[in-house]
């Protein structure tokens, strides 16, 4: 695997010109989005239909979701295959999003002057200024929709890129020279860790493509993750008949050491420093996973400051937020190293059919946050004991900060293992709440249903003079009364469902 530069270009922004010049200067191969699309079409993916569907967002069907997954996996695998052959400059829209969290991918956004693009559009399409403006606005909107629908991020978000090049005030030649210098910085050099992340990504993508190609599994949706040769495939409960086929289809896949198949509707992410399959937290997480038909994905997070090997951290070439797995692991013998109970806990999860895969992250908080915000959707994040070598007050503060960072990036509930019981299991507090609200509800219902005549007279305004003021009082009373009853009875219903473990 070698270095890759991903140029994200808008329409007529001279991105292609810049990419080709940069590739020549660096002596890298060049690959365009058009080449990639052509390969995807040869693969049998209906890219045109997919684009139309994504740009005109509609209710996402299972078939479209499968087509999108196939496309994403194929594109990722194709890019990784090309990088294996040698260093590469890719120019398109979102190559950097296909290869997320890989430190040796240099992410460049190319933008151009609106006036230049307008003139180029008028010249290329032979249309007037107004039509050209409308065309450019429409095409930009479509592309933004595409990126949003495919990757769940904003295309224009500058934080997605390492550098934004505006060719309005810089010639393409100079821009290419500047990027050549930048590409040679140590920050963008491949490290053993970034190589391993890319290999995991490649393996998962190849597995997903193979599942999409095989007629036995082609009509099923899967989530595939890989770590160190272990592949975890998650499928939905209503597709349980394909469970045995998954292993058969993936049997013999190059670099695959082990294959896990887990039935789940969603995934719970559990982040902790060390795992113990006999702990109460494990039982609670599995219990919730059972309730939600979820798989449990484990992330062993050792904060860089707490890892006890700061000198090794210091050798990291690029401690950037996008570094999902920093370099420490490569200095450890994976088989012999203490994995903090990760493997044993994963085995236990696999035994109860809840394994969603596992990995470790050594590094800073930002590394963990970046690695958690991938394409796998989570329903819940559970934070266990982290920063265990800190004093309790600092641990609470750092955990809270981590929670806030994750919450700002992931739109899912985030709880600590201590909060699991109170949030998701019926406890004494729930009993008090249920009893209290139930009493209120019973009293209200009894009062209304045993005094129907009086209630209806009030609602009809029969007891009053029928004036506007009297009617306003009725309206106001209904407006205030109904949400209170809904809240009280809603709390009773929620507690009851919690009691029978069905919330």
């Amino acid at each position: 695997m070698s270095q890759i530069v991903c140029l994200s270009r808008g329409s007529l922004s001279r991105g292609k010109e810049l990419a080709e010049l940069l590739a020549r200067k660096l002596d890298y191969a060049v690959l365009s989005r058009e080449d990639l699309i052509e390969a995807a079409i040869r693969e049998g993916i209906h890219v045109g239909k997919l684009e139309t569907s994504m740009m005109n967002p509609r209710t996402f069907t299972e078939r479209l979701a499968r087509e999108r997954d196939h496309y994403l996996a194929f594109s990722t695998a194709y890019l990784c295959d090309r990088i294996r052959e040698g260093p590469l400059v890719y120019h398109g829209r979102t190559g950097h999003l296909l290869l997320r969290n890989i430190s040796h991918v240099m992410r460049v956004r190319v933008v151009a002057d609106d006036e230049y693009r307008l003139n180029a559009t008028m010249r290329n399409l032979g249309i007037d200024r107004e039509s050209a403006l409308q065309y450019l606005v429409a095409i930009e909107e479509d592309r933004k929709s595409w990126v949003r629908s495919m990757y769940g991020v904003s295309w224009e978000d500058a934080s997605q890129y390492d550098v934004v090049v505006n060719v309005e005030r810089m010639s393409v030649e100079n821009a290419a020279s500047a990027l050549v210098g930048m590409a040679q910085l140590p920050d963008f050099r491949m490290t053993p860790a970034s190589l391993r992340t890319m290999e995991d990504l490649h393996l998962a993508a190849r597995a997903r493509v193979r599942l999409a190609r095989d007629p036995r599994t082609a009509r099923t949706g899967f989530t595939v993750v890989a770590h160190g040769g272990e592949i975890t495939v998650t499928y939905l409960p209503h597709d349980m008949e394909v469970a045995d086929d998954i292993r058969r289809v993936l049997d013999g896949l190059e670099a695959a050491r082990e294959i896990h198949a887990t039935m789940a509707a969603t995934t719970i992410l559990w982040v902790q420093e060390t795992f113990d399959a006999s702990s109460d937290a494990f039982s609670e997480v599995v219990e919730i996973a059972g309730k939600w038909n979820a798989a449990v994905e484990l992330v062993r997070f050792a904060p860089a400051e707490a890892s006890g090997v700061p000198e090794v951290v210091g050798t990291l070439t690029r401690p950037s937020p996008s570094t999902a797995v920093a370099g420490i692991e490569d200095d450890l013998d994976e088989e012999d190293a203490d994995d903090g109970g990760l493997k044993a806990t994963l085995d236990e999860l696999a035994r109860v059919g809840k394994s969603g895969g596992g990995r470790w992250v050594y590094g800073e908080r930002a590394s963990l946050v970046a690695s958690c915000c991938g394409m796998v959707p989570h329903a819940l994040v559970v934070l266990g004991t982290i920063y265990s070598d800190r004093d309790p007050a600092a641990r609470v503060r750092l955990t809270r900060e981590l929670r806030d960072s994750l919450a700002s990036r992931m739109r899912v509930p985030i709880v600590t293992t201590d909060e699991l019981r109170t949030h998701y299991f019926f406890g004494r507090r729930d009993l008090f709440r249920l009893t209290g609200y139930l009493a209120v509800v019973v009293i209200v219902y009894l009062l209304v249903l045993t005094h129907q005549e009086a209630v209806l007279a009030f609602l009809h305004g029969a007891g009053s003079d029928g004036s506007t003021l009297a009617r306003l009082w009725v309206a106001l009373a209904v407006f205030v009364f109904v949400p209170i009853v809904a809240f009280a009875y809603g709390s009773v219903a929620r507690s009851l469902m919690k009691l029978i473990r069905m919330e």
């Binding site: 509609r58 949003r148 899912v412 009364f481 949400p483 009853v485």
Partner: protein, 366 residues
């Protein structure tokens, strides 16, 4: 007006009727959680089948929707799935739509119509509500069914026709408003039109989400989760405004609202659980068939209103037959749909218990 009605509007409520309203709530709640809509498409005609005048059924249901949306939208808001700016723009015109709907329903109800047989003495209002219900929901149900069946047969992602939506989306209709949460840019005129239509339908038949959510997804290009969250946020305000307006006119029957809650707030959990264990294609087919049967059931009840208005000449005894057939069809459709969902929910629940037992055994062994 029907002499059996209390204060001209309200039905007498004995235990049997109360139980039926609770069942309507349970079925409406399960379908609501399963489909992701408000469930009014089942509860409003169901109440009309029980003899509740259409306008009171709509008023009580929109009041029920108000409280339910208030509880539900909080969760969506916590997860960032609510585009409040979009909500504000839509609320403004939806209020006008609701006001128009309340005004028409009230005028038709006060104008009376009918001889007081069968479904009360509000034949004109009942006929109008039923007609709007049948027209709108038959289009929705047929599109959904065709879409689901086509996809199953041909495995084609074509979906419902997007010609109108695409044409509207491509039209240049300034001024445009940008919404940062949804990351979309929408013409103010389209926004106003959608708000007006959603409000009018919510106020007339209690079903606004069937228009609002598809518009937000297809016309505005909003992400599905944000469209659903924003619709619930909007439903809270529309429900509140509808409740205020109908209560001001004296049409809200709080007894019915409370009894609906009794079933719906429990049923919704079962419905939501059902979405996790039932295949998407089956969800679509069940949804479409249940809505279609609700539409047919309402159409079956309409000859009685036409007779009461003197527009057709049939034996008055047919009123009871029409209403009875309509009611039987509605309950059969709802209960059959719910049975299917419950079957899958219970099956999955039992599987879960097995996993728990396995886990407990493993822990005991260690």
């Amino acid at each position: 007006m029907d002499p059996l009605l209390m204060y001209d509007h309200f039905i007498p409520l004995d235990l049997w009727v109360a139980v039926q309203v609770v069942v309507l709530g349970v079925v409406g709640g399960i379908l609501s959680g399963f489909i992701g809509s408000g469930g009014a498409f089942f509860m409003t005609p169901g109440m009309m089948n029980l003899g509740v005048p259409g306008v009171v059924a709509v008023a009580s249901n929109i009041t029920h929707k108000f409280g339910k949306a208030m509880v539900g939208s909080r969760k969506h808001n916590e997860l960032g799935n609510v585009d409040k700016r979009m909500g504000v723009y839509l609320i403004a015109t939806s209020f006008i739509g609701i006001r128009i709907a309340v005004w028409i329903n009230s005028m038709l109800f006060e104008g009376g119509g009918g001889d007081g047989h069968g479904a009360g003495g509000s034949a004109a209002a009942d006929l109008y509500i039923s007609a709007v219900f049948v027209c709108i929901l038959s289009v929705v149900a047929v599109s959904m069914l065709r879409d689901a069946l086509r996809r199953r047969d041909a495995d084609d992602e074509g979906g419902p026709s997007m010609r109108l939506a695409n044409a509207l989306a491509r039209m240049h209709l300034p001024p445009y408003v940008t919404f940062k949460v949804s990351e979309v840019r929408v013409s103010l005129w389209v926004l106003m039109l959608v708000g007006l239509a959603t409000g009018y339908l919510a106020g007339t038949i209690g079903v606004g989400g069937f228009i609002g959510v598809p518009c937000m997804i297809y016309l505005f290009g909003m992400p599905t989760a944000v469209a659903a969250g924003t619709e619930l946020y909007l439903a809270m305000f529309m429900g509140g405004w509808g409740a205020l307006n109908y209560a001001f006119q004296g049409f809200v029957d709080i007894r019915l609202t409370l009894l609906l809650y009794l079933g719906s707030l429990l049923g919704i959990y079962i419905g939501v659980y059902g979405t996790k264990v039932v295949k998407e294609i089956l969800i679509r087919i069940v949804t479409a068939v249940v809505i279609l049967l609700c539409v047919i059931s309402r159409a079956v009840a309409m000859p009685a209103y036409l007779r009461q208005l003197g527009w057709i000449d049939i034996d008055p005894r047919w009123d009871g037959l029409c209403n009875g057939a309509s009611k039987a069809m509605l309950f059969a459709a709802g209960l059959a749909g719910c049975s299917l969902i419950l079957y899958h929910v219970i099956r999955s629940y039992r599987q879960r218990l097995k996993v728990r037992h396995r886990l407990a055994e493993a822990r005991a062994a260690t």
